[in-house]
Point group: C2
Chain length 151, copies 2
């Protein structure tokens, strides 16, 4: 068996992220905001989600500062939901989920949405990139280490 | 409001990926396999998950060909669980969840595990990379387009 970095599961960053995201609905709400849907009715109609369920998910994502509310109409007060820096940092997760579905779960079309680099118009994909080499790195080229442990 | 690529939510590749993954337990099982835990008892003990729940999650992941069983002992027959190509392609998702938790939900240590590039020993991170420019691209530098639609 390969070396396995023993660690306290309660400290796991994957588990803690999933705790914040909460459930599948939250991730689908974030997908819609990433794609440009910012208003309650737009997201609600698109997802076909119950209004009270959507309201609870949005409230939770705002409390965790993944989304922020912005006033876009004063009388009556109406709000849009936008990604914070913290929310934008979920981009690789959302893109990774999308491209995996495009590859393994989509119809022949290859999935309904493409994310493009504005500067050149080519597709963007989620990869693991080495901070030093700036190259995409496959799972076989990586090793998991316990942080601050001797190798 | 920015342009929003209208699409059928039932065709969404993010939603379809989440359907395959099923739930939080499945993602935590995959995390353990990515980190090098391949045997039932090892994963069960680490996650503190009920044996029947773990068995059901492993069965589902094998049925979806995300994991494969490999015989490592003949008498009695015992199996290890390994990632298939399809499973390995979830690397950016798992790494993205981990680094977000490291940044926003971890203790001062910055999270218990680091993923390193074997060739140089530097950390690996999940990014959105342009297929043509091979550069990491921020969310603001991307645009979501409906596939095969005029812009």
């Amino acid at each position: 068996m390969p070396a396995y970095p023993e660690f306290d599961p309660s400290a796991c960053s994957v588990a803690r992220t999933l705790d914040v995201l909460g459930d599948t609905w939250s991730i689908l709400v974030l997908r819609d905001v990433f794609l440009g849907a910012h208003r309650f009715d737009q997201i609600q109609e698109h997802l076909g989600i119950a209004r009270n369920v959507l309201a609870a998910r949005l409230k939770r994502l705002v409390e965790h500062r993944v989304l922020e509310k912005r006033l876009y109409e004063e009388h009556p007060p109406r709000f849009e939901y936008h990604l914070t820096r913290k929310g934008l940092d979920l981009q690789p997760v959302l893109l990774g989920l999308m491209q995996w579905g495009d590859r393994y779960a989509a119809d022949a079309s290859g999935g309904p949405v493409v994310l493009e680099h504005r500067a050149c118009g080519h597709p963007v994909r989620a990869v693991a990139m080495c901070e030093a080499c700036h190259e995409a790195v496959s799972p076989r080229q990586t090793a998991a280490q316990a942080r601050n442990q001797p190798r």
